[in-house]
């Protein structure tokens, strides 16, 4: 018999893993998707309680969470595009200038290395050049 506690445990695990990712990862998009994963854990809780009480309120709340997550996705995407245009990077560590006042900057112990640029794919020309 799967009880409400099983679903609450799975929801808590998703929230915890999302928290780990949000705290440690540096890529904006990964951080954002981690936040979305935490929201999924919360929706799971709401649905489990709604099923337990035989009440549709849980599903309605879940729907609102999905709506708010969609708004958040649109805004976050626009912000990432803007930041990317300015800084040419999706690394959150590159934006030390907008950190909270009086906090020390967090710098890498060994500085970031430039990695190999991925070359664009080259298509082999085929056919004849039109006259």
């Amino acid at each position: 018999m799967i009880t409400v506690w099983h679903y609450l445990a799975v929801g808590a695990a998703l929230f915890g893993l999302g928290l780990v990712g949000f705290l440690t990862r540096r890529n904006f998009i990964t951080m954002f998707l981690c936040a979305e994963m935490m929201l999924q854990g919360v929706v799971l809780n709401l649905l489990a309680f709604g099923k337990m009480h035989g009440d549709l309120g849980g599903q309605v709340f879940g729907l609102f969470i999905v709506t708010v997550a969609a708004c958040e996705a649109g805004l976050a995407l626009a912000l990432f595009l803007t930041l990317y245009r300015r800084g040419k990077t999706l690394d959150s560590g590159a934006w030390q200038s907008i950190r909270e006042a009086k906090l020390p900057a967090s710098v890498d112990v060994d500085p970031l290395r430039q990695t190999r640029e991925i070359p664009d794919p080259v298509l082999t020309p085929a056919g004849r050049r039109p006259a």
Binding site: M1, V4, W5, A9, T24, L33, L63, A70, L90
Partner: protein
């Protein structure tokens, strides 16, 4: 799983702590870093943590094999969700991480289906696995145009971050443990269970069994058959709707099991009050119907009209029992019911959500369309 149950008492918390520490260490090793990352040790620790925590959940919250298919699906979907979540968090490449996240969403949608929410499942698949993932893959491709650095191979404070996340997980699981039936049963703790459902599963099963017997009784041909089929109905209804049993010294009926109207007497929310009122109506109907049946069957020579009237009211009682058994379950027509709830009870919230979407769209356009920044 007795493997992790070395001592009989007090080991629930220590097993939970073991799982949490193992999980934190696993992510400490798995998170991308230039030096000291070990996928092998991290994977091993992650599997160990998953085994310890799963056995803990099974031991504390029960693993009675009743609904085999539902149980298999639950373990499949939850294992998939947690596995892909771990892959996603520990994955260096954000594009592969986004794909793993799509699998997390699909698994969670399976759990939504098990929780009787098909509409929310469809909406989540469409919104997340469709729109969000495609958009983010687009952004990721866009971000590969310039010179790249290895920031995706670094993590901020991997040890502290994983400790914080798993400390949170451990505390939530511990709080769940304190309210679970196992802990309340063996810990001598005050009864702090979650609030009971208006109609419990046992009462629902008993009401459905009663409805089946009432159906048999309502097609009874003669007086003796009717008497035979209805003789224990009063006692069986007694526990559920709270009528005094036929004999005051009937053994198990004076147990502490409260009837539905008694239990819901202090309820305040409208839905529970409606269920309590329905149970009280059923109580009145049980009394009237069984009295009518007894009047008919105790006569020496009841007429056919009396017998058929009694059978008809038994059929009516059956319908009312079925209706009460159905309360406390989610409605079968999920989309209809969710739509009705959205546009009756939650209309203001729907309007606010629409306004929020509009404002978010305007904001996104305003932010992304900024001129004067060198592209």
């Amino acid at each position: 799983m007795n493997l992790f149950a070395a001592t009989p008492s007090g080991n629930a918390v220590s097993q939970l702590a073991t799982g949490v520490v193992l999980g934190a260490l696993a992510f400490y090793w798995l998170l991308p870093r230039p030096k000291g990352r070990s996928v092998a040790i991290g994977t091993f620790a992650a599997i160990a943590a998953a085994v310890v925590l799963t056995s803990w959940v099974v031991r504390q919250f029960g693993d009675v094999a009743k609904d085999t298919v539902g149980q298999a699906l639950f373990w499949l979907f939850s294992a998939g969700a947690i596995f892909f979540a771990a892959v996603f968090v520990a994955q260096r490449n954000p594009a592969r991480g986004a794909i793993a996240f799509a699998f997390v969403i699909v698994s969670v949608c399976g759990l939504f289906l098990l929780l009787a929410a098909p509409f929310l499942m469809a909406a989540t698949i469409v919104i997340y696995a469709g729109a969000i993932i495609v958009t983010f893959l687009f952004v990721l491709m866009l971000s590969h145009t310039g010179p790249m650095s290895d920031e995706n191979d670094r993590s901020r404070e991997p040890l502290l971050g994983s400790l914080a996340g798993f400390a949170f997980l451990g505390l939530v699981l511990f709080a769940l443990y304190q309210s679970s039936p196992a802990a309340v049963a063996d810990g001598g703790r005050p009864d702090q269970k979650l609030p009971a459902r208006p109609v419990t599963a046992e009462e629902r099963a008993e009401l459905l069994a009663l409805a089946k017997d009432l159906e048999l009784a309502s097609v009874a041909k003669d007086k003796d058959e009717l008497q035979e089929r209805t003789k224990d109905l009063r006692d069986r209804f007694a526990d559920i709707v709270g009528i005094p049993p036929s004999a005051p010294d009937a053994g198990h009926h004076d147990s502490a099991a409260a009837s539905i109207p008694d239990r819901l007497a202090l309820a305040r929310d409208p839905q529970t009050i409606a269920i309590a009122r329905q149970a009280e109506e059923l109580r009145t109907l049980v009394r009237q119907t069984l009295n009518q049946v007894e009047n008919a069957t105790l006569k020496a020579n009841p007429t056919d009209v009396e017998i058929s009237a009694a059978a008809k009211s038994l059929g009516n009682l059956r319908e009312k029992s079925m209706l009460l058994a159905g309360r406390g379950e989610l409605p079968a027509r999920n989309v209809t019911a969710v739509g009705h709830a959205l546009y009756s009870e939650y209309l203001i919230a729907v309007e606010l959500a629409g306004t929020l979407l509009l404002v978010a769209t305007i904001g996104a356009v305003a932010i992304a369309n900024r001129k004067g920044v060198t592209a």
